[in-house]
């Protein structure tokens, strides 16, 4: 399944900019370190990169722009899709 998102914010610069439109896949999702994912937390969707697999189905996600991002501990269930391409 393909999901469409528009980026809001600067925590993923220089790779993703405010206003970029992205397509993500939620099929055959096996998140690994380095993947860019959208995950749900506190009722919001966030775009971050998986920095580490901390345990089975547990990950640490961070922004590419370290000065504008904090760490998130997330689980597989929170991940809604993996980045495919911009459009």
């Amino acid at each position: 399944m393909i999901r469409r998102y528009i980026v809001k914010g600067h925590s993923m610069e220089p790779n993703f900019h405010d206003g970029d439109k992205l397509m993500l896949s939620s099929l055959f999702l096996k998140p690994k370190s380095g993947d860019v994912v959208v995950f749900s937390s506190g009722g919001r969707d966030y775009l971050k990169r998986i920095a580490a697999v901390t345990a089975k189905n547990n990950f640490t996600a961070v922004g590419d722009n370290k000065s504008h991002s904090s760490e998130h501990a997330i689980t597989r269930k929170q991940i809604k899709g993996k980045f495919l391409m911009k459009y």
Partner: protein, 161 residues
């Protein structure tokens, strides 16, 4: 532009894409309960000094002022970590966090309003426990040590090596 991208752009005309947030509060990621622990120790110390120098009105006034300031500082530091650092997944893992934070607010207010060593010690203990949970969420082990302060009470310290 491939067919998939063209299709997505056409769909956008009728249905807006969802928002993926790529931001957070600044400063980001720099949180530490140490200030709250120092403040709680200061509340204990000021309570000790007030009890030791009851006859000196001027000294008591100064100690009381400092005690109140640090009780408030302690509350502020705990509120920042509770509100800005802890995420839903932390609350899920440590469901006692909300009640613990509430109890720290109440303990700090009591220690501020009264000259009560029991209240000051309860505040310090709850702040130390809060600090232990904070470090646990970062995967950092802690240990309790006798603080090198005149309070001669414990402090929860992260093992950062």
């Amino acid at each position: 532009m491939n067919l998939l991208q063209m299709t997505a752009r056409i769909i956008d005309r009728f249905l807006e894409p969802k928002t993926a947030h790529a931001h957070c509060d600044i400063p980001c990621g720099i949180y530490d309960p140490h200030y709250a622990q120092l403040a709680a120790h200061t509340v204990v110390r000021m309570t000790q000094l007030i009890e030791q120098k009851k006859e000196d009105a001027h000294a008591v006034a100064r100690y009381a002022k400092t005690k109140e300031e640090h009780a408030e500082l302690c509350k502020q530091e705990i509120r920042i970590i509770w509100g800005d650092y802890f995420k839903p997944e932390h609350i899920q893992k440590y469901p006692q966090l909300h009640e613990m934070t509430y109890n720290i607010m109440k303990a700090a207010s009591k220690a501020r309003q009264e000259v009560s060593m029991q209240a000051a010690e309860e505040l310090l203990e709850s702040v130390n426990r809060f600090a232990e949970i904070f470090w646990e969420t970062k995967g950092v082990r802690t240990y309790r040590a006798k603080a090198p302060y005149p309070t001669e009470r414990e402090i929860a310290v992260p093992q950062l090596k």
